[in-house]
């Protein structure tokens, strides 16, 4: 698995500009929400939970959406790249289990996203004055890691789909956006219409947003959300990997591992 993670790091490192551009993009994103938050400073808001301001609320939302995106679509994107470069069949001829392939290919996008998320929060703290004095960083790291693993189950399922139907990019891109939107990345779920709020409260990402905001802004109260995410990971990941193994077997049967 580590060999796959290291290889993806080497490939990503070979494109130097996107690293820098990604940080610039993150900075601009934060800047936009910083000024939106300034615009409505003092205005009455919906319950923002642990976040002391709308900017604080949305900063965690943006950072976690990056991780959700990587966890849920990173594997699918990597598989699609392997299909397009023709390396998927060469990879599948190697002595790797389905679990090693799934977690190894998902590993680097996930780790990279965690670093980006942490950098966004750090930038928000140092440049935009986000209050981080109460943060429980151990809780933050634990909750973020468990959230990533839980959401990887979804990513492995989408990856399985890409193995079978190949063009799954649209779905892979839609999932993190829809989940973020529904579960409180940019606004509290309490502002959603009643029936949508019910859905928003059970979407797994909601536990990630609540837990991480509690860890960053209150330094406590993240434990229950982390446990819920751990349970989702425990149940979801083995099921997702079983689907992935089935998708690989389908690729071998249909002879499509070497196809674009």
């Amino acid at each position: 698995m580590l060999a796959l993670v290291r290889r993806d790091f080497q490939v990503t490192r070979s494109y130097r500009l996107p690293f820098a551009l990604d940080l610039v993009y993150g900075f601009i994103n934060l800047l936009v929400y910083f000024f939106i938050s300034k615009t409505f400073e003092g205005a009455r808001t919906a319950n923002l939970g642990a976040a002391p301001s709308y900017f604080a609320f949305v900063t965690v939302g943006i950072a976690i959406t990056v991780v959700i995106g990587a966890a849920s679509s990173g594997l699918a994107a990597r598989i699609r790249e392997e299909q397009l470069t023709g390396t998927l069949e060469a990879l599948m001829a190697q002595p790797l289990t389905a679990t090693e392939v799934a977690l190894g290919l998902a590993g680097f996008p996930f780790l990279f996203a965690v670093v980006r998320a942490a950098l966004y929060i750090l930038i928000a703290g140092t440049v935009f004055g986000l209050p981080l004095g109460e943060a429980d960083w151990l809780g933050f790291v634990l909750c973020l890691t468990v959230a990533g693993v839980a959401l990887s189950a979804l990513g492995v399922l989408v990856g399985s789909l890409v193995l079978v139907i190949k063009r799954g990019e649209l779905l892979a891109g839609m999932i993190p956006f829809a989940m973020g939107l529904l579960s409180g990345a940019f606004f509290p779920v309490s502002v959603l219409p009643g029936w949508l709020e019910v859905i928003g409260r059970v979407v797994p990402t909601r536990f990630a947003f609540d837990g991480l905001r509690a860890a960053v802004f209150e330094g406590a109260g993240w434990e229950a959300d982390t446990v819920t995410l751990a349970l989702i990971a425990l149940v979801g990941l083995p099921i997702a990997i079983a689907f992935f193994a089935k998708a690989l077997a389908y690729g071998r049967r249909s002879g499509t591992l070497g196809q674009y």
């Binding site: 060999a3 290291r6 001829a93 591992l257």
Partner: protein, 209 residues
Amino acid sequence: MTNDGAVLSIQGLSRRFGSREVVRSLDLSMARGERIALWGPNGSGKTTVLRCVAGTLTPTAGRVEIVGHPAGALQARRLVGASLAQERSFYLRLSGHANLMFFARLRYDSEREAAAGVAALEDELELGEIARQRADRCSSGMIQQLAIARALLGDPAVILLDEPTKSLDADARGRLWAAIDRRPNAAVLFATHLDSDLEHCDERLSFPV
């Protein structure tokens, strides 16, 4: 090895793509050190047989076993080194060396063994320049030499080579066959349509079967 000493055993292998039967009821058994050429025109099913042995394609009917393990099983894939579809199967942003190191890490137990294995192959196949170049700057002949090196990583019991000399110059062809000669215990199954490759095999199997 199986009871009859075969490292590779193919029984009644058939493979169909849609309504087209590409391989029909193929039987083949290979002992250690044996070399068999699958010889025939393009599209006659040679690569299909190699893919079934590599485990990246499941037969429609029949059995393929590597030292008693079904092809495609983890234990079987450990024993097989394959060079398939060599024109496009490397990570183009990485150097030849980084590519080989990646695949070596999947086959050797430690980083040190992987590095030693790659260094030995780069030396044996004289890959110095190819190893330094990024894969997207390599010619098809250079990529083919990398693919051969990848197939030899970890001293596999069964070596599969798909059109191994197609893009190689005379020197590189010489190095390839010399490397195969230095592995007298490996069973080598290769697909070719070139008559000149046949002098390097013990037996040839004409396709289509």
